[in-house]
Symmetry: C2
Subunit: 190 residues, 2 copies
DNA sequence: GACTAAAGCGACATCAGTGTCGCATAGTAA
DNA sequence: TTACTATGCGACACTGATGTCGCTTTAGTC
């Protein structure tokens, strides 16, 4: 791997944390310089805006998530297990241990005027991943027979709301757990 | 009423629209100058930051909402009607006709480092208003017997999520309606 | 090892927003 | 009307972030 490519991955890796801590809008190129120990010129050699860095992170994240879900479905892992993992990941995000990308996408979207082109596509992907899990759960008879469109949107909005709230308010882990239980009761059979 | 007080109300009124259109972070004092036809100095005479203006708007909004709910409960209006109105208001917000304040509070919260003092209080108020409606519905036997804490949080997060999504994505009015139906089915008896 | 391209540097010009201050004008109370 | 206070003005200095550019250093290739 070339030096430049390595640097780019390094920049993305370091930046995730900054975006998570400060929020998309608050991050400046200077912040990223400091976190990466790169100079202005050095950084601009690779990325010319925070937006560019942020979208690079998102794209990478979407790709990774999608392929993992495909893989476990392939391996016939029970739908409940997959879904529980999905929820666990989102819980981690809600607790601030990392930032779920759905959350990040929305935060990002607040700031951009061009709201309905780039983002539709990314969020569409997120929806696709969840729908894949739900459809698989239906087929295996593990999940109740809801309308998948409505249900997936409902779940995503709740998760998104939880994450927003927890990043913003002093809500307890218990509150998050209760919401996750609520969702699970909603969809699991018995 | 004194001139100054009039001006302050005028500034708030004009600013709501700008915050709704551009999003909290993107608004500058210059924007507000333009919208109000005030000069920098004139504006700074009354408010010295966008944050100050924004919180003034929120406080006013919270006050208004709370008193309306109290009033209709006093008048024994059916809980379903009150709740439907509540949802309708949020739908309007989701459609972008105005910005629901819960949404606004969250958007605002993204930007502030001091996340857990000012906001807890405001969102607590929002929760109180919804819980009041739910408790009233319980008492009148119109609503299912959920745990009110969990349910109110769930509803607020869904609504918040819907609003976030609709401000960000090209989701249809039908999608919003389906989510609102989903919530209603969840809580109404039969 | 020598050469070329890639990567990294940091000073610089630029820009957009902020907050202030002395002055001008309008409101208001006597 | 007067006189004082509240309101409004806009130029100004300041700040912090942006993006560029010529230069140096490092990596990769032969």
């Amino acid at each position: 791997m070339k030096k430049g490519q390595k640097t780019e991955e390094f920049i993305l890796k370091k930046s995730i944390k900054i975006f998570a801590e400060k929020g998309y809008t608050a991050v400046t190129m200077k912040d990223i310089c400091e976190a990466t120990d790169l100079s202005r010129g050095g950084l601009y050699r690779h990325y010319s805006s925070t937006k560019e860095i942020f979208t690079a992170i998102l794209d990478k994240d979407i790709e990774d998530n999608g392929s993992i879900v495909d893989e476990v479905i392939q391996q016939k892992v029970p739908a409940k297990v997959i879904f529980a993992h999905f929820l666990a990941g989102e819980k981690e995000a809600a607790l601030g241990n990392n930032k779920g990308w759905f959350f990040a996408v929305h935060e990002f979207a607040f700031m951009e005027n061009d709201r309905r082109s780039y983002l539709d596509e990314r969020v569409f992907h997120a929806g696709q991943i969840l729908k894949k899990i739900l459809r698989y759960g239906h087929e295996k008879g593990e999940f109740k027979k809801f309308d998948i469109e409505t249900l997936s949107f409902h779940i995503l909005t709740v998760l998104d709301g939880i994450k927003t709230s927890s990043s913003v308010l002093s809500i307890s882990e218990e509150t998050i757990d209760r919401q996750i239980d609520f969702i699970e009761e909603l969809i699991y059979i018995n």
